[in-house]
Symmetry: C2
Subunit: 246 residues, 2 copies
């Protein structure tokens, strides 16, 4: 057997495909039902790799502030749990994450990820300062783990609409998980937040096709058959790395 | 905050502690109940990191045989599922794992990990060749993910007693996951299998204290409080690495 790391039969020069949100949702459903991956397992893989990507984009020694502070803003669903796992691994990597998680999921799965962070003594904010200067001064960067590709960008409700209004004004870098919150996953955002770094989970979505910042792909576990079915033409991850910069 | 990566209050020169099997079991119970880690989550973390350790100890370009074949022998419980996850990531890293999993667990958790391997087209052997030369010729190495620290080494039953008898005779390197199968977790084995590489999961057990081969520690997620409670004095993992060679 001699093949590229991702799809034995793909032509090496086929371009990477950016999936629509419907395709991305179908792929994830297939992973969970047919391939029997678990949500807990996938969220752990993604959250860990997000922390590695953040450490690569913003190494400890290069941060603007003396303390390696990071604000992780978590939404109510899966994207938020990826943020929680990411915060936990950032703590392990010696960053100082603070979590803002305004609406906690009632699901045990998400609650477990929350307890894991609490037990790591990661502080949780009870509200987000409305004064953006306070955020700029306190943190080196903000991780946007608020809304995923499934969110309806035309109908962002409170508290997330206010949070996004604040994040649009901050001066420190934003790292978005999977899809910048408030963007339609199917097209680049025009008046939403403006992340410096985007971390695509498993497959890049259409909105990332012309992303001007640093773009990482994480989630190196996708079975070859499903890569082929969706004609992903993923690039090769180097060595045993869990991420690739596109 | 300025502290070592593992325990802010430990003296840097305190020696690493090797836990008894009772301590290791208590620590794991605490992780699952108090810290609300999930078994699926931990098995994924461990299995992935085992594959990274194997790729580090036996890089693709250095294998004795033309094909990067690896035989992964999986036991009936958690250690076996770590082996399944390890095999899946080895496949992602372009090795060619083959799995021997003689007694499949009836638990959904373990079955899901099995299906994930089957769906990656990883072959499963229906029996282990009794002729050791066939194993020596077909594979570059054997991963022993058979028995964990909880197993009673004085009462290893079939099919595992025959498998261990075969593995004692093979000439290719063995990599053991957590505890070499057939050893007492509390003391070095004398007449068991003789692995070249040992991968300790989360904390090293007493049997590893004088292990003469390559010894990796994986499972970089342990909350600082629990590290302190068990006075582990873990060494610092470099950068964002998921493993450390002891």
């Amino acid at each position: 057997m001699n093949h590229s790391s991702n799809d034995p039969d793909s032509e090496p020069n086929e371009p990477l495909r950016y999936l629509s949100k419907d395709e991305a949702a179908a792929l994830e459903t297939e992973l969970l039902s047919d391939y029997r991956f678990g949500q807990q397992q996938l969220i752990e893989i993604w959250g860990h790799a997000c922390a590695v990507a953040i450490a690569k984009a913003f190494p400890l020694g290069t941060l603007a502030k003396k303390q390696p502070t990071v604000l992780v803003v978590c939404g109510p669903d899966q994207n938020g749990s990826v943020g929680l796992v990411c915060a936990r691994h950032l703590r392990i990597f010696e960053y100082e994450p603070t979590i803002f998680y305004p609406k906690r999921s009632p699901q045990t799965l998400h609650q477990d990820f929350t307890v894991q962070c609490e037990k790591m003594d990661i502080p949780f904010l009870s509200y987000l300062p409305a004064e953006v200067q306070l955020i700029n001064d306190a943190y080196n960067l903000v991780i946007d783990a608020i809304l995923g590709p499934e969110a309806d960008h035309t109908d962002v409700r409170e508290p997330y609409s206010s949070i996004l209004a604040t994040l649009k004004q901050i001066k420190i870098p934003i790292v978005s998980v999977d899809v910048p919150s408030g963007w339609d996953a199917d097209e680049p955002g025009t008046d939403g937040i403006n992340p410096e770094v985007l971390i695509s989970l498993t497959v890049p979505k259409r909105c990332a096709a012309s992303f001007p910042g640093k773009h990482f792909l994480v989630g190196r576990f996708l079975p070859y058959d499903i890569q082929k079915k969706y004609e992903l033409n993923l690039p090769e991850y180097p060595g045993t790395d869990c991420l690739i910069q596109l």
